[in-house]
């Protein structure tokens, strides 16, 4: 049987990048929005 490890690694690495990018983008967006809203409310930002 042939060795397909290169294809398998590429598929899982791509999935990790796509899922990681989605998580980072959503979390960063949330933090940015909370910061901007806190400025309006004049509140302290929760970590």
């Amino acid at each position: 049987m042939k060795d397909y490890s290169g294809f398998i690694f590429a598929a899982y690495a791509f999935a990790a990048i796509v899922v990681g990018a989605m998580i980072v983008k959503i979390v960063a967006d949330y933090r940015d929005l909370k910061r901007k809203l806190a400025r309006f409310d004049g509140r302290e930002i929760k970590p």
Partner: protein, 247 residues
């Protein structure tokens, strides 16, 4: 249930649910990956390349499921004009695009060693590519129209038109001769896949589904906050204008 359709109540519910959903997602994906790499056997024909199936199939299911969720939200926008339906629809589009891209790329990486080609213009592959383009079109539409309510209605109409592609994707392998294999899990007469491969696949699929719901909930929360920020910015600008006018 209707109580949670109120954005403020929804934010409170999301804050409670997100940590639990994220933890369940992590556990399911760890279990799924363990079963994929250490328990599930190689295929007698495809060898170890079948490991790609455990990513490809869940992403394909989610690519379609996300669109079905967007279609329900689009109905909520058009029929009830509910702001939460708008937010759910807008938040789902980038996730759907990401899972469709993942499905296309992992399919290509599986297709090359098995079919000898990265891509063929067969009905299944082409209809999934069309789904990806619809997602991109919807993201573009949301970004182009500044007024959220107007953008929501336009996106809802496009979503409802595009839903015709979902049965085409599902049944393309039955309606036309395709290089892509026919359904092997959800089919009449039960799954045509061995239990030792089916269970890891189902656990990965449930893990991916939890991942989607976690990210969707987080993205809806962001969308509600973005609208709140927009309203506050507009109010502040009006207040400033009035102050200048009275001065």
């Amino acid at each position: 249930m209707l109580k949670y359709a109120n954005p403020t109540h929804f934010l409170a519910l999301a804050a409670r649910l997100i940590p639990w959903l994220a933890a369940t997602t992590a556990l399911l994906l760890i279990a799924g990956l363990y079963l994929t790499f250490f328990v599930a056997p190689d295929d007698y024909q495809q060898g170890s390349s079948v490991k790609i199936m455990y990513l490809h199939v869940p992403s394909a299911w989610l690519a379609m499921m996300c669109y079905v969720i967007m279609t329900s939200a689009a109905l909520g926008t058009i029929v009830w004009r509910h702001p939460l339906a708008d937010a759910a629809q807008k938040a789902a589009a980038p996730l759907g695009a990401a899972f469709t891209l993942l499905c296309l790329v992992t399919g290509s990486l599986w297709g090359k060693p098995m079919w000898g080609t990265w891509w063929v213009w067969d009905a299944r592959l082409t209809s999934v590519l069309v789904l990806f383009l619809i997602y991109l079109g919807l993201i573009g539409l949301w970004r182009t129209i500044e007024e959220p309510a107007q953008a929501a209605r336009a996106a809802a109409i496009l979503t409802l038109v595009g839903v015709v592609n979902i049965p085409i994707i599902k049944f393309s392998v039955d309606w036309w001769n395709t290089l892509h294999q026919p359904a092997s899990v959800f089919k009449l007469g039960g799954p045509a896949i061995a239990g030792s491969m089916l269970w890891p696949l189902l656990i990965m699929a449930v893990g991916f589904t939890f991942l989607f719901f976690t990210l969707h909930l987080m993205a809806i929360r962001n969308e509600i906050l973005r609208r709140r920020l927009r309203r506050l910015s507009i109010d502040a600008a009006h207040a400033e204008e009035q102050a200048e006018a009275t001065a």
